[in-house]
Symmetry: C2
Subunit: 254 residues, 2 copies
Amino acid sequence: MTLKFYHAEPVANSLKSLIALKEKQLDFESVYIDLHKFEQHQPWFVAINPEGQVPVLDHDGVIVTHTTVINEYLEDAFPDAPALRPADPAGKARMRYWNKFVDEHVMNYVSMHGWHRMVSVIARSVDSNEFETLMERIPLKDQRDKWRNARSGFSAEQLDAATAKVEAAVAKVEAQLQKTPWLAGESFTLADANFFSHCGMMVARMFPQIGNDERCPHLLDWAERMRARPGVKAALEMPDHTNPALRTFTGEVH
Amino acid sequence: MTLKFYHAEPVANSLKSLIALKEKQLDFESVYIDLHKFEQHQPWFVAINPEGQVPVLDHDGVIVTHTTVINEYLEDAFPDAPALRPADPAGKARMRYWNKFVDEHVMNYVSMHGWHRMVSVIARSVDSNEFETLMERIPLKDQRDKWRNARSGFSAEQLDAATAKVEAAVAKVEAQLQKTPWLAGESFTLADANFFSHCGMMVARMFPQIGNDERCPHLLDWAERMRARPGVKAALEMPDHTNPALRTFTGEVH
């Protein structure tokens, strides 16, 4: 049995499945993909994932993409490893409700701020001809649009709308964590890994006006409990090759 | 055991879970919610689903919302009924890949055209004061924005961008159906119910320049095979109270 995981830095989607792999204590071969060098758009990688995106799971030749799908796949394929999905149908439904919420109402909005602060610097660091060559290699139109937007700069209106979505999401999560210790109830699930990777881990740093003790004490407490989990800790300790000058998104900024 | 399903007309999200219920041959109590009368925003309904949206499943008091979540719940809660989800982990992952694609890249874009053609007429039929009262009752900000947009009219730019998404989705589905008879492989799954309800059933009528024999013969053949399934047929035969003058979205337009 071989389990191979192609991923970038331990943040956002790459972190989300690294947490699942580490929490399930699965052995896997880590293949680092350098987003700073646009490796995810190289022909060898696009041959593995035609969408040209990280992360990707390769389980004995079965290729699985999109982290919500990858993480459920790990639950289905490794039933003897520690379960990160509730056993009862109602618990599974609560977990999936939150996964869907994070996928559709959180991820892209935090991501826009991340791209604005970090990826736009990368996008602007290449000259126009080289940029067009890079664009031609990106398989998904939505991703091409995102890169062009990052290069030209997101508008204040786009960024404000994204901030409003983050604000609403934090309020919703805070209300849930007042009632239950984890998003889907009494136990840690894939929904916690999802919200942590896309928002919870960086909200205090990226949006200090939202992610603070007044507005979301339960969320910040939950984030500490997340960081204390051995699996989450191991995932966060995976190599981070981010250019330190660009580390506004993954943290440790000066 | 009681299974209650609150739903509107057999199209889009309501149809998607009606197909699952009927294909699984489950007995359920149907509760019709009249969207023309904004019943989904009434206090009695918001007490059941705080998001004020149809459909909703009530299984012995367990409330499940969002059709992708509802349909997986039915698989988990009724393992002895006909399975609409592959048994193997790789098959489940393929099904979830397509579900995610339809949820994130199809549903809202076809829906915008549906709202533009139908819901905007409803939204404009109420006077300004009444409209504001209705708006105050809608729990989700995104839904309030959608209603305001429907009343003021979507822009040509918004509609063109939505059409481009539908075009890309149809090309992607057509390419898959050239390779396999159903979206996730050799068998009908929840992914087929999803794409059919949000796009496949109405693409030829709503977007004749896209949904035609030249551009997507395999998709149109698949849509016929869908309609021939007894469960899909039974779901499509559920009552349709749409004002006939507004029936551009659900069909039978004059």
